[in-house]
């Protein structure tokens, strides 16, 4: 053999590498086991990240400066805010206000062909750009009797632009598909506010008022002016309201996701520990021999850690590839599943995997400490 090749190969016999290659079936199964746990975690994180983009997209994307809601209402998704419609006129007289646009929020049935689902239906002012959702197909300009539907909900039920739908029994024509409007457990639909008021049966009512200020008025100043102008209202700066809504969306999801993620981690750790423990017992002779010929404890620790980290690295690679392969299919099959993986989440999974590798080496290391070289004399 020449003196060439990579430096790690020149330093000495790559024993960890050889042991893994020798035990490749066992390592392969372990890598798959860890890989599936990693896929699980990636899906959970992608769901969590997806909520930020897709579920909170509509609220976070409003080109407004402030939200006005009923007293004690703090967010968009979990509330039953109702305001008198006339409040809009009062707020238009506040100095610095250029536009006030009402939203009326209903939760109702939507019939798509023979299939019935429920959605949060938002009545919006078709003439105002403040409340209009981002549309990926069709138009954002609503006429009376027209509806924009969240794209995932539409895909789920096979609704196409031009289809006839019913909301709370009333006929609408589907004219647009929106994004940023999928809250996983429920989705948003949009109709003109006059239609929404007819569905509700009350004319002089709104749920939220979106307020835009002029360029010369600071957002905080505008919020302060709006506050207390009308009794029994709550005024939020746009980013504050968006953040509140995000907390509500994620708050319900987080404990569930965290629990499943921890369970996945525990399963992965068990698989890894079992692998290394089994591999060490099976190679017990080799470890006893290493001790007999004078391998220091540090060498043995590095040897086991290297095998552990190799299994984890393989598992992460397997997991990421499996995720990349499975995520597009999932989006097709379950359109409501909002998946978006941030670099932070990937980094987090890598860090968790590193921790897993270190923890996984722990029990096997303790086992190696109880292998004695004198065993080798017993033929």
């Amino acid at each position: 053999m020449s003196a060439g090749g990579p430096r790690w190969a020149r330093r000495g016999v790559p024993l960890a590498h050889r042991l893994i290659a020798f035990d490749r079936m066992r390592f392969g199964i372990t890598i798959a086991g860890i890989g599936f746990a990693v896929v699980l975690m990636l899906f959970l994180l992608a769901l969590y990240d997806g909520v930020r983009v897709e579920s909170n997209g509509y609220v976070a994307g409003r080109p407004a400066d402030a939200w006005v809601a009923q007293d004690n209402t703090t967010n968009f998704i979990k509330s039953s805010s109702f305001l008198r419609a006339a409040i809009a006129d009062t707020l238009r007289t506040v100095p610095g206000v250029t536009e006030v646009s009402p939203i009326l929020r209903l939760i109702t049935t939507v019939d798509i062909g023979p299939r019935r689902t429920t959605a949060i239906v938002l009545g919006i002012d078709p003439a105002s750009s403040l409340a209009r959702p981002e549309v990926v197909e069709g138009t954002a300009q609503l006429q009376r009797g027209e509806m924009i539907l969240d794209r995932a909900l539409a895909q789920r039920h096979g609704a196409r632009i031009g289809d006839s739908l019913r909301a709370q029994g009333h006929p609408f024509r589907l004219v647009g598909l929106s994004r940023g409007t999928n809250a996983v457990l429920t989705q948003l639909a949009f109709i003109p506010i006059d239609d929404a008021r007819e569905l509700l049966g009350f004319r002089e009512v709104a749920s939220f008022l979106l307020v835009r200020g002029d360029s010369g008025t600071a957002r905080d100043t505008l919020v302060r002016r709006l506050e207390g102008r009308v009794a029994h209202t709550n005024v939020f700066a746009q980013p504050v309201f968006a953040e509140n809504n995000m907390q509500e969306l994620r708050g319900g999801l987080l404990p569930i996701l965290a629990t499943v993620a921890v369970l996945g981690g525990v399963v992965a750790l068990s698989v890894l520990t079992l692998l290394l423990y089994g591999a060490i017992l099976e190679r017990r002779e080799a470890y006893a021999l290493l001790k007999a010929i004078g391998a220091a404890d540090g060498y043995l620790a590095r040897l086991i850690l290297a095998q552990s980290l190799a299994a984890v690295a393989g598992g992460v690679l397997f997991g990421v590839l499996a995720y990349l392969g499975a995520a597009p299919i999932t989006r097709q099959v379950v359109p409501e599943m909002v998946l978006s993986l941030s670099p932070w989440s990937l980094t987090g999974v890598a860090a968790a995997a590193l921790l897993l590798g270190a923890l996984g080496a722990l029990v096997p290391l303790l086992r190696v400490a109880r292998i004695y070289p004198a065993e080798l004399f017993r033929a």
């Binding site: 050889r18 010929i293 004078g294 404890d297 004695y372 070289p373 004399f377």
Partner: protein, 234 residues
């Protein structure tokens, strides 16, 4: 022979196994013995006479219950595990009846391993492995896995591995026990040559009387005690 020529000095070494009572065994009982460099010492005795226990004591693999073990002027009594490990790595080579080669490694890598552990990097370790393999007629087996070797070849690889870091002491427990007569003779001849040519203290434990002619001294053990020391006639 002067004291300086002694690679191993045992004084009143006793090793007891088991708790006090019927199950207690005095595997080695008050053994005092000097083992010189440059010669092959054969520890002979019936099965259970304490040969393996004595080798384990010299190698620092187990500690004596009483007495002192000195290897290369270093007293093993009271040495910690890391110091004993380091001593084995650099000064003591061990050969087993069951070879104990690492089957995931090639012949070359098995021989290299102790050198790498001692800090010798490639390609130096590869070069010395080749040199040892040539000395023991294994040069065309270097890239084989141990399972592809005959028993005699395996034991020669094990001896090459034991010699990798040029130790002063070689401990061999029943090195011919798993070999046929011809391969066994070859292995013993090799060990004897190592003792003579490289001035090592080679200590072989065996109950096989055919080895005696190769020995420079034969220590007879019975019930853990030294029963006599002879220099065989050649």
């Amino acid at each position: 022979m002067s004291e300086r020529e002694m690679a191993v000095r045992l004084a009143h070494v006793t090793r007891v196994f088991g708790a006090v009572g019927e199950t207690q065994v005095r595997a080695v009982d008050d053994v005092t013995l000097d083992l010189p460099r440059g010669g092959l010492t054969l520890l002979m005795g019936a099965s259970g006479s304490g040969k393996t226990t004595l080798l384990s004591l010299i190698g620092g693999l187990i500690a004596p219950t009483a007495g002192s073990v000195v290897v290369e002027d270093m007293s093993l009594v009271g040495l910690g595990q890391p110091a004993l490990t380091a001593l084995r790595l650099r000064r003591i080579g061990i050969v087993f009846q069951a070879f104990h080669l690492i089957d995931a490694l090639s012949v070359r890598e098995n021989i290299e391993l102790p050198m790498n552990l001692a800090g010798v990097e490639r390609p130096e370790s590869q070069a010395r492995a080749l040199q040892l393999a040539e000395r023991f007629g294994l040069h065309d087996r270097l890239d084989f896995r141990p399972r592809a070797l005959s028993g005699g070849e395996k034991q020669r690889v094990a001896i090459a591995r034991a010699l990798a870091n040029d130790p002063a002491v070689i401990l061999a427990d029943e090195p011919t026990g798993s070999l046929d007569a011809r391969a066994g003779d070859a292995v013993i001849a090799l060990l004897h040559a190592e003792a003579r040519q490289h001035r090592r203290a080679v200590i072989v434990a065996s109950h096989d009387p055919r080895i005696a002619p190769f020995a420079d001294q034969v220590v007879r053990l019975a019930f853990g005690r030294v029963d006599g020391i002879e220099v065989p006639l050649r």
